[in-house]
């Protein structure tokens, strides 16, 4: 069975390392980008099955990423947003732009795995 491709856009190395490890263990083919520039370059070449992205990222924010995927690339792939606690307004904006789900920091890798699986099962 082909592994599902997941793009993890997270500039926090610590969180990214942990999530990368757990998502790979969870059976996903994970590509990690630490900034929006890398994310854009990746998306110009290929489209993953799902994106997990932090809201606050250098060069290209999570919001810009959602808008880019939905409006420019015209893709409906699931996007899960990682937000800091107390960032509710951003989360609402993310949903308006087309995010499918969100998870708050500190992120529980197990919870993220469940959310990723749920979004992929919807397809």
């Amino acid at each position: 069975m082909t592994k599902k491709r997941l793009l993890l856009a997270e500039d926090d190395e610590l969180l990214a390392s942990l999530l990368n490890f757990r998502l790979k263990k969870g059976g996903y083919e994970v590509s990690h980008s630490a900034n929006g520039k890398e994310v854009k370059e990746y998306l110009e070449q290929q489209m993953p099955d799902i994106i997990v992205s932090d809201i606050m990222m250098p060069y290209f924010s999570g919001m810009e990423l959602i808008a880019y995927v939905r409006k420019e690339l015209k893709s409906q792939i699931p996007i899960i947003i990682i937000s800091s606690a107390g960032n509710e307004e951003n989360v609402l904006n993310a949903f308006e732009l087309g995010a499918n789900d969100f998870i708050s920091k500190p992120v529980s890798p197990s919870e993220l795995l469940v959310r990723v699986a749920r979004e992929l099962n919807k397809i």
């Binding site: 926090d12 190395e13 610590l14 969180l15 390392s17 942990l18 490890f21 800091s84 500190p106 529980s108």
Partner: protein
């Protein structure tokens, strides 16, 4: 002494407050002190300017009435606010927080600030650093090498923040300081280093709200002082885990 003079003298007191050394004042005390002082000064400002306006113009607008009510509330709350009290404050300015507590300054504070203070009190008790890595190891599915990698990244990030904070404080670039703090925050939460996390939250708040370089410098110094203890606690916790 007239209330207006009292207000002027408060400015001197404020400069003393800004010069407080980190060795003598804990983060909690400094935070309490700063918020209490700001409210104290705000209410005093109202008192001064309103009493100045009183003889000439009666309060007609809703805003003035509200302000007047607040001032009366303030006067009722501190009927003894006079030169003796003020001198007592100056005399005991090293324990200014306690003096203000006696004056029940919290009753004049917004509920939000009181909650922040209460939260601060609770979280600050955790500053005596003890770290439990077993939960993080669980998240790493028992992989000690990953845990070690996370600890190394954590230490690197914290050191990077300390260096960046120094530069941003020098240039008073609060936006960049806020970003640097944001970058280290998730790691602190992950490692459950509550004392440091608490300081970072305050630094971010300071960068967004009052942008007071002295206060921010103080908070960063607290972070720098606290970090070696956290690092040591992390190392101990890691050794404990490897031995168990």
């Amino acid at each position: 002494m007239k209330t207006k003079n009292l207000l002027f003298q408060l400015t001197d007191l404020e400069s003393h407050l800004n010069d407080f050394s980190a060795e003598k004042l804990t983060t909690e005390e400094a935070f309490h002190l700063k918020i209490s002082f700001q409210h104290f000064k705000k209410n005093l400002l109202e008192l001064v300017f309103l009493s100045k306006e009183k003889p000439n113009a009666p309060s007609n607008t809703g805003r003035e009435k509200k302000s007047a009510t607040r001032t009366i509330e303030f006067e009722n709350a501190y009927p003894e606010l006079d030169i003796e009290t003020y001198e007592a404050i100056v005399e005991h300015h090293k324990s200014y927080g306690n003096v203000l507590k006696d004056l029940k300054i919290e009753s004049a504070m917004d509920k939000k600030d009181v909650l922040i203070l209460k939260g601060k009190n609770n979280s600050n008790q955790k500053l005596d650093t003890q770290i439990d890595l077993s939960l993080i190891l669980e998240e790493c599915m028992g992989e000690m090498s990953l845990l070690r990698e996370l600890i190394t990244l954590f230490i690197g990030n914290a050191l990077e923040f300390m260096g960046a904070a120094k530069l941003h404080l020098q240039s008073e670039d609060f936006e960049q300081l806020d970003l640097a703090a944001h970058k280290v925050k998730a790691g602190l939460a992950m490692m459950r280093t509550d004392g440091l996390l608490d300081l970072i939250i305050q630094i971010q708040k300071g960068c967004k709200l009052d942008k007071d370089p002295k206060h921010l410098e103080f908070l960063c110094k607290c972070f720098n002082d606290e970090f070696p203890k956290v690092k040591k606690a992390l190392d101990n916790a890691y050794v404990e885990l490897t031995n168990s």
